[in-house]
């Protein structure tokens, strides 16, 4: 064999080795924790809903709400408009309730199942450590059930309520009853209706008037059990003049089946309040053949109810086999602000259809959309967004920028913006570009001794910087690592 052929062969082999190493090793959260679980039987019917409700010892109005949602859900059909290929989901083949078996009422962290604690340590969120060092209050939700909320006592001193959703239903029913379903009504869409019927837990957060939450609130979601779906629900209410920054992270074990995650997040910002919601979504994306992975169908919506309020969504989406997610802001009050910053990375067979909706209803409202899509492998990555200026939204302003980066010639990057303007004094600007990493950029890095993979990591991080900068510090580091890991082996 001539020498250049041998060299080529070696290079090819090396690339193959890197690829297989990376694809088997890139998802490091793919372990399963062996803890005793309590599950409901498979399938969905009114009895299952009653079972969930009674397990959680819920009041009658909550059960009514669930049943109402379930009946609505039966009448609905799954949305088919997204640029996604979704295998039919058998909703009767899912376990709708799985919880770590309760041993006794937990009084302190020391009493949490040590196996569970180890799980969180592996995830890099040792509750113990978090509690002492980082000053981040964590609510950990495993298989839809909140395991432990740290720092509740400190927060309680300020009047802040930060607890699991079930606890809120028990202890603050009046708040839950008043605000639940306000931003995302039970019949909003197919997955929101399903969630409203079967949601098992989640986080509840109430910031009283004029309080600035001193620490970042955080929830960590983990799907553990096989054959289950995760249906959590988050409700954040920021009362007049308050401020809160909220973070959400998620992981799941590697399994060759598709698991369903249909969550609902609602944010309500009253007069002068500000809510910042950050997500690093890293559900298991499936293997490189496209088997397994989480179906992430999430409804997130915030309402700027009062004047001068502000809601900001920041998301880094690297996981999930399929992402269907449009965090939105309804700008109801005058002089309100909505923001959406997103980085969505898809590799191998992942599909993402994500974006936002900015509904301007109040006067002098402002919104900004910055979306950065990165597609690699055989994946498809779509931005889908709506900007609507209502008749009364005088002097409102929107700026949208949606950039796509293509790595490889087998992937797709798509942009589907919808703009509707109904008054003469608003200004809407939308711009988008699609490009690839140029050979010149790579050459420049390699000339300076930076390898291809690192160079791509560097360029991609630079490309996404605008969004990463908006993340709280704890998340930004994780997000940057995730970006590099998700894209490893995608170019060669």
């Amino acid at each position: 064999m001539p020498s250049y052929l041998i060299r080529e062969h070696q290079v090819e082999k090396e690339q193959h080795d890197i690829l297989s190493e990376v694809t088997s090793g890139d998802y490091k959260y793919g372990f399963v924790t062996d803890i005793e679980m309590e599950t409901a039987p498979k399938g969905l019917n009114e009895d299952i809903i009653r079972f969930i409700s009674s397990k959680k010892n819920e009041p009658a109005w909550m059960l009514e709400y669930r049943l109402k949602s379930y009946r609505k859900w039966l009448e609905m059909t799954p949305p088919g408009w997204a640029h996604l290929k979704i295998n039919d989901i058998d909703y009767q083949d899912i376990i709708y309730y799985a919880a770590p078996k309760p041993k006794k009422e937990l009084q302190s962290l020391d009493e949490v199942d040590p196996e569970l604690l180890r799980t969180f340590e592996k995830l890099g969120i040792s509750l113990e450590e978090q509690k002492r060092l980082s000053g981040v209050a964590v609510d950990a939700v495993i298989d839809s059930v909140s395991v432990k909320t740290t720092f509740s006592e400190t927060l309680a001193g300020l009047g802040i309520i930060f607890c699991s959703f079930s606890e809120a239903v028990q202890k603050h029913p009046e708040l839950v009853k008043q605000y639940m379903g306000m931003a995302v009504p039970y019949g909003d869409n197919y997955f929101a209706a399903l969630n409203s019927a079967v949601f098992s837990d989640g986080s509840f957060c109430y910031i009283p008037k004029g309080v600035r939450c001193p620490i970042e609130l955080s929830t960590y979601f983990r799907i553990n059990a096989a054959g289950t779906g995760q249906f959590e629900r988050t409700l954040i209410v920021a009362d007049e003049g308050s401020y809160v920054s909220y973070m959400e992270g998620c992981t799941a074990p590697m399994r060759d089946e598709n698991q369903l995650h249909a969550a609902v997040v609602e944010i309500l910002a009253m007069k002068d309040a500000e809510v910042k919601y950050s997500t690093v979504q890293n559900w298991y994306p499936g293997n490189k053949k496209g088997e397994g992975g989480i179906y992430n169908f999430v409804t997130k919506r915030g309402i700027c109810k009062g004047n001068n309020s502000k809601i900001s969504w920041t998301q880094v989406e690297t996981g999930s086999a399929i992402t269907w997610k449009y965090p939105s802001v309804v700008l109801l009050g005058d002089h309100t602000t909505g923001e959406f910053y997103s980085v969505a990375v898809t590799n191998h067979h992942q599909q993402a259809d994500t974006g936002t909706k900015m509904i301007h209803l109040g006067k002098h409202t402002k919104s900004t959309i910055i979306s950065k899509g990165i597609s690699a492998g055989l994946s498809n990555n779509s931005y889908r967004g709506l900007v609507r200026m209502g008749k009364k939204a005088e002097q409102s302003r929107n700026f949208s920028q949606c950039d796509s980066l293509l790595l490889g010639d087998q992937c797709g990057a798509h942009t589907f913006p919808y703009i509707k303007v109904e008054n003469k004094s608003s200004i809407v600007e939308h711009e988008a570009t699609t490009s690839k990493i140029s050979d010149e950029q790579l050459f420049y890095c390699m000339q300076r001794g930076i390898g291809t993979e690192s160079a791509i990591g560097l360029i991609v991080n630079g490309y996404a910087k605008e969004v990463l900068n908006k993340l709280p510090m704890e998340f930004a580091v994780e997000a940057q690592k995730l970006l590099s890991v998700s894209l490893e082996g995608s170019v060669g």
Binding site: N423, S425, I427, T434, S435
Partner: protein, 470 residues
């Protein structure tokens, strides 16, 4: 759907199906080709039905009221009964054109159904071309306009009785601009289905101006389909002018197919019209194509204009540009639905898409959807869309220099429109459209009594501005 309309729509559907059966029963002298095409199209229409707002492609345009009207449907050429010469007095000043006329969608032959011009270009009626050039006709007809793609395309295919046929042989440069004028002149409500076929051979060149115009009629619904094939290295300049009255509805579908190295420049100017929907489908089939698509729409009152543009990059090294601009006044609504698709093999594609709108009132509405779908990595694609109003600072600048408010507004709108008009490459046409846009913006232009390109005497363009003050 409102109940009052349902009956009307069912009636139209039945009428169309009956008329189509009549056409099929009558056309026993035809060869099998067109018969099969019509049958296929009718079967497709029966399956698809009329477009509704539930369909993504029609979500912002409601045809319900249009479809519910009672229309007369022609299955054979109507008696003209008019002095044809009197109606067609069309002329572009300082431009000698080869004029092709259609009356209610039927070719007006002036004694010659198909003719060969001195340069070699063949111009004539589609019905005559089918018999005179069967091989050419069958090789191109129905190749781009997919009857399965939409109900209205299918109806057009089910009739396809007449329209314009233009053939420019290989290497021929058509000497004069070909001007197609479609006039609606009827005492009844009519629905017509013109079908045009334009074929440019290798290395040929053609300039085509297409005008739609109404003279005397009640309501009209034009559902036209044009297929335009641009051969290797050929160049087509296509201009479409729409200046219809507010009782007219028009759905035009133009399907362009470009072979390698060809160039297309398309300009659509909409000055007036009730409901207008322009579908523009450009397929770049060979490498190295260039397509420039420009549009300008100035709508007011209850008018509705919807431009749907699909650019399909199928081959590498192609460039496409879209620039659509519009000014929307009163309760009018404008829709822009741009879609760029880049196939996996279409590497080194450059695609630009731009839509800019100015809203003048709080009752006017704009929907804009500039979509990109990209499957190749070595591409440069960008799109932009803006909706806003006249820049207050620019207004202030002019006001500060003693220019009246209405004049300043005029000047700015005129400059906004000029971006599109300046792309028109036939100078006399550009000059005339420029003039029409100016008059349109001043509210002086309505639907003329004569052909839109014969707009009485030319007026000099005078802005009431003392330039010394600027």
């Amino acid at each position: 759907m409102k109940n009052g309309f349902t009956n009307g729509i069912v009636r139209l559907r039945e009428k169309l199906e009956a008329a189509c059966s009549e056409v099929l029963a009558r056309s026993d002298d035809d060869n099998g080709f067109i018969r099969k095409e019509r049958e296929r199209a009718m079967a497709s229409f029966k399956r698809l039905g009329f477009p509704t707002q539930a369909m993504e492609a029609w979500r912002s345009t409601d045809l319900t009221a249009t479809l519910a009207q009672d229309y007369r449907i022609f299955t054979e050429a109507p008696e003209t009964g008019q002095d044809i010469g009197q109606i067609f007095q069309c002329d572009i000043h300082h431009l000698d054109t080869d004029l092709v006329t259609l009356l209610n969608g039927w070719y007006v032959d002036h004694g010659q159904a198909i003719r060969q011009l001195s340069c070699g270009t063949v111009v004539g009626s589609l019905a005559a071309a089918r018999l005179a050039y069967p091989a050419l006709f069958e090789a191109h007809y129905g190749r781009q306009a997919d009857v399965a793609a939409g109900g209205l395309n299918a109806i057009n295919g089910a009739f396809a009785l007449d329209g314009v046929f233009v053939y420019v042989p290989d290497g021929v440069t058509a000497g004069k601009t070909v001007q197609i004028v479609n006039i609606i002149n009827s005492d009844e409500n009519i629905m017509i289905q013109p079908r045009n076929l334009v074929i440019l051979g290798k290395g040929s060149k053609l300039q085509l101006v297409h005008c739609d115009h109404s003279v005397r009629h009640k309501r009209s619904f034009i559902n036209s389909v044009s297929e335009l094939f641009i051969g290797e290295e050929a160049v087509l300049d296509h201009y479409k002018l729409q200046n219809k009255d507010n009782d007219s509805a028009q759905v035009t579908s133009a399907f362009f197919e470009q072979q390698s190295g060809s160039r297309l420049s398309s300009t659509v100017i909409t000055l007036n019209g009730g409901i207008i929907r322009n579908n523009l489908h450009v397929k770049l089939s060979g490498p190295g194509c260039d397509a420039s698509l420009h549009g300008l729409y100035l709508v007011d009152r209850e008018q509705h204009v919807d431009n749907k543009i699909v650019v399909d990059h199928m081959a590498p090294d192609c460039v496409s540009r879209q620039l659509y601009k519009g000014i929307i006044d009163d309760q009018a609504m404008a829709v822009f639905n741009g879609y760029v698709h880049v196939a996996r093999d279409a590497q080194r594609t450059n695609a630009y898409q731009n839509n800019r709108n100015i809203l003048l009132t709080d009752k006017a509405t704009v929907h804009t959807q500039p979509h990109l779908e990209i499957y190749a990595d070595d591409v440069k694609c960008s799109h932009g869309a803006t909706v806003g109003q006249l820049d207050p600072e620019a207004m202030f600048y002019m006001r500060a220099r003693g220019i009246r408010e209405d004049t300043s507004r005029m000047l700015m709108m005129y400059a906004f429109a000029a971006d599109v008009i300046n792309h028109i490459r036939i100078h006399p046409v550009r000059h005339q459209i420029d003039e029409m846009v100016y008059r349109r913006l001043r509210g002086e232009l309505s639907v003329c009594d004569q052909c839109i390109l014969d707009c009485n005497a030319q007026r000099p363009q005078v802005f009431e501005i003392d330039l010394n003050k600027i």
